[in-house]
């Protein structure tokens, strides 16, 4: 198989074609892996005590290097908050970069998946397998002129993308990537995530208004109505795992689940099974993904709320749209699908492997990497489902959108809530175990049926197969 490499326009990669492969590998693996490892190295230290201890130890170590005896007691220092702030900025830097890299890379995944589904190839020119297309897109976006319509509300028009961006970035604070890889484990984590992610709609509404364009206004109003409505079923469905875990903390909810599928909340209670689908549907609507992409419905509203945007501000809107998939999928995985839980490892194992004092043992790090990988794989799988839905389903109409929400999802979510209450009170843990086995089996059967149907449908149309020669 001959791989056609892109970046033909630059003489550098034409002379050294391996550069393109290296650049692709770096962007595709080294950069995200570096971000994950940085998160793994930095996030667990993110408490005042650990920062104090780390800074003290670092200072002593540096002192030994130069042969001096440096002693720092950060805990008693007047500069401690400066250090904490620097630390937080570092954490934020990692999270923001992760959001941007994920947002970019997922556009490539989406375009490739869409290409396959639409029996075409998708981007395959820039970098190996076209992976660098999103980098090129980002560069193009940033270099473009940032036009602002003359009749737009200048201040709000400029500010709107940042509202959306804030709504994207704030939930990253509580979203756990792994056992210890979370910026902070708030005791109101679920509430915080639901509240802050709604900031995105402020950006949509403000941009729709400030653009002073009828299309954008349509999109903004639609977005506001849609996101605010779907907050309700999403919020109630998210309460089901909260009831089952007895805590609002994200890490607490994950710790109340186990690594095996029958230990996940989604399978431990029929109401949670339903609530999972309600939550995912609602988050699709909140994230403006097809079939709920009404605020930017291309065939109706041209581009909806970002019709008047260009350049970097448009890039921010698009980044929010795609990176939001990580938040949506990550929340669903955390609340319902066992989060980062590694099968067969329980909380004591993490504590035992951590040992006493810093740094922790190598085994602990390996376990952390495993837990992050599990979370990442589950989340990407769900992101793939979102992409898949987008390129399969038509768009619903506004009134249908609202009736789905208010007539079906809201009552359904309330029902799940009440059934879960009764379930938690009346069903003993062993009953939940058996429910877990039964529902896992059911899900596997549905999956099997799906695969059989798919095979049969593919066999019906002869000649359809995955062609890997032109990747």
């Amino acid at each position: 198989v001959r791989i056609t490499l892109g970046l033909d326009s630059t003489s550098l990669t034409r002379r050294y074609p391996k550069l393109a492969i290296l650049a692709t590998l770096f962007m595709a693996f080294a950069l995200p892996a570096g971000l994950y490892l940085a998160a793994l190295a930095i996030f667990p230290l993110n408490t005042p005590e650990r920062i104090d201890a780390t800074v003290d130890a670092l200072a002593a170590w540096c002192g030994r290097l130069v042969g001096a005896d440096w002693q720092v007691h950060l805990a008693g220092s007047p500069y401690r908050y400066l250090v904490y702030t620097l630390f937080l900025l570092l954490v934020a830097f990692i999270a923001v970069n992760y959001a941007a890299v994920f947002g970019g890379a997922s556009t490539w995944v989406e375009r490739r998946v869409a290409g396959r589904m639409q029996s075409r190839i998708g981007p395959n020119r820039t970098g190996a397998a076209g992976f660098l297309a999103w980098v090129a897109d980002a560069v193009k976006m940033v270099l473009k002129e940032d036009t602002i319509p003359a009749s737009a509300d200048q201040l709000l028009f400029r500010a709107a993308p940042y509202f959306s961006m804030v709504g994207l970035l704030l939930p990253f604070v509580v979203l756990p990537f792994g056992e210890s890889t979370v910026v902070t484990d708030m005791n109101v984590g679920v509430f915080y995530a639901a509240a802050t992610s709604a900031f995105v709609v402020v950006g949509i509404l403000v941009s729709g208004w400030a653009s002073n364009s009828k299309w954008a206004l349509f999109g903004g109003i639609r977005g506001a109505a849609q996101v605010l409505s779907y907050e309700i079923p999403a919020g109630i469905a998210m309460m089901v795992p909260v009831l089952m875990a007895g805590t609002l903390s994200m890490q607490g909810i994950v710790r109340a689940q186990g690594g095996w599928p029958w230990e996940w909340f989604v399978f431990r209670n029929p109401a949670a099974f339903v609530a999972f689908f309600i939550a995912v549907t609602s988050s699709l609507a909140e994230g403006n993904r097809t079939p709920f992409d009404l605020p930017e419905a291309e065939s109706e509203l041209v581009a909806g709320y970002h019709a008047e945007y260009s350049g970097f501000r448009l890039a921010i809107f698009l980044m929010v749209e795609w990176a939001n998939m990580w938040i949506m999928a990550g929340l669903a995985v955390t609340l319902f699908l066992g989060g980062w839980q590694v099968p067969q490892f329980v909380a004591e194992d993490y504590a035992r492997l951590f040992g006493t004092g810093l740094p922790p043992s190598l085994g602990w790090f390996l376990l952390q990497v495993a837990s992050m990988l599990i979370f990442i794989i589950k989340t990407w799988a769900l992101v793939f489902v979102f992409i898949w839905l987008r390129w399969t389903l038509p768009r619903v109409r506004v009134d249908q959108l609202m009736s789905v929400c208010w007539k079906y999802l809201v009552p359904g979510a309330f029902l799940c809530f009440i059934v879960t209450l009764l379930w938690q009170m009346l069903v003993p843990p062993v009953g939940m175990d058996y429910t877990g086995y039964a529902l896992t089996l059911f899900a596997l059967l549905v999956l099997g049926k799906f695969l059989v149907d798919t095979r049969r449908n593919i066999a019906k149309v002869k000649g359809h197969r995955v062609d890997l020669s032109n990747w």
């Binding site: 029996s119 009828k214 299309w215 109003i221 992409d293 065939s299 389903l393 149309v461």
Partner: protein, 381 residues
């Protein structure tokens, strides 16, 4: 003419209402059309089509060039179904000259025409799905349409503007082995239509978006002069191929699909959509019969090099992919037409949009426009 102001003058407006121009540049107006829409948000109060942006004076050109020279211009009347535009003009002038195309030419016209209908309907159902928000069916439909275009390119050298027919026959005979390729494609098409049905036609959201939307009753369809699939979608079994047969069509057995109100009311958007899907299968039937019965012989009748029909008038009516296409040609005895008039399906479909637009939603307007399968150059000519 400022139609936006006209609309406002004709109806009282309130503070909540805005007037939106759906077009002329809009992703789902299927060309350069403007729908001046008075709306209170999602609910449309009325929507008035403003046509004429693509007017190129094609009827006037028909009076300025000699009869055979106008044939390539007819392609531009309906670029998605150019075969029928060719055929209608050829028929009209042939009647003016009192000549008839030889049987083989008539069969070739039928085969080419039905292939062109399949190609056009692929675009129509694909863009319909796109307008409803499903992006994937269009690319699949376009992929299949490429096979049709390959076949037509082999036949006449062009993929879009065919210029295939001549006054008195057709320009090209079927290439060797072409019939087998067509049959292979038709075998694929029959199974592909089922795949397309699974992909989108019976999709729950798709049906919900289209059923009971934009209902055109039988009486309305007749009153507004709708033609083709738009008329048949309302349950009227009228097809020029069967009711006013021309060319080789009397020789073929085929059904005329009509709307049945399967998921809603007869004459809704889904009916019009599905009539097109079924018509592709009927076209496939016709092509199979035509290939099986294809007579040998000439492909051009004896016509003089310089066409000077006697003074008089003639009408050519064909069932285009968008319904009845009518050419009215008046001759004054010279080698150019004295008057040429084209009556097209898309233009007839535009008038009913205002009637349908009262109280519908913005998304419904898009569905209605898509279900009427209008093509801007055919409206404006």
């Amino acid at each position: 003419m400022n139609i936006e102001r006209q609309v406002l003058r004709r109806t009282e407006t309130s503070a909540e209402e805005i007037v939106v121009n759906f077009g002329p540049q809009h992703p789902s107006t299927h060309g350069v059309i403007n729908f001046v829409t008075q709306t209170t948000g999602e609910i449309i109060r009325r929507s008035v089509p403003d046509v004429g942006y693509l007017h190129r004076g094609l009827e006037k050109i028909g009076e300025l060039v000699p009869y055979p020279g106008y044939m390539p211009f007819t392609d531009r009347i309906d670029y998605l179904a150019a075969m029928f535009a060719n055929e209608g003009y050829a028929l009209a002038v042939e009647r003016l000259l009192s000549v008839e195309a030889p049987p083989r030419a008539r069969y070739i016209r039928a085969i080419a025409g039905e292939l062109c209908r399949i190609s056009n309907h692929f675009i129509s159902i694909g863009t319909m799905a796109t307008d409803i928000g499903a992006a994937t069916p269009l690319t699949h439909a376009l992929r299949e349409r490429e096979s049709v275009n390959d076949l037509l390119e082999e036949l006449c050298g062009a993929r879009l503007t065919f210029n295939c027919h001549r006054i008195g026959g057709v320009a090209y005979d079927l290439p060797a082995g072409w019939g087998d390729k067509v049959l292979r494609f038709l075998d694929h098409l029959d199974s592909y239509v089922q795949e397309f049905d699974r992909l989108i036609s019976f999709n729950k959201i798709y049906v919900k978006r289209l059923a009971n939307v934009g209902v055109i009753t039988r009486a309305q369809a007749i009153d507004y002069g709708l033609v083709g699939p738009n008329l048949r979608g309302s349950g009227v079994k009228w097809d020029v191929r069967r009711d006013l047969p021309y060319g080789a069509y009397p020789d073929f057995e085929f059904d005329i699909p009509v709307g049945t109100g399967r998921f809603g009311t007869v004459g809704d958007c889904w009916d019009r959509y599905y009539v097109r899907v079924q018509e592709m299968l009927e076209s496939s039937k016709i092509i199979r019969q035509a290939l099986a019965k294809l007579p040998e012989g000439e492909i051009m009748a004896k016509v003089p090099r310089k066409l000077k029909p006697e003074a008089g008038e003639a009408v050519g009516r064909v069932e285009s992919a968008r319904g009845e296409m009518l050419y009215y040609v008046v001759s004054d005895g010279s080698e150019k037409a004295h008057r040429l008039r084209v009556r097209t399906g898309s233009f007839m479909a535009m008038a009913i949009i205002e009637e349908l637009s009262h109280g519908i939603m913005v998304a419904d307007l898009i569905a209605i426009i898509a279900s009427l399968d209008v093509v801007a150059p055919e409206i404006d000519r």
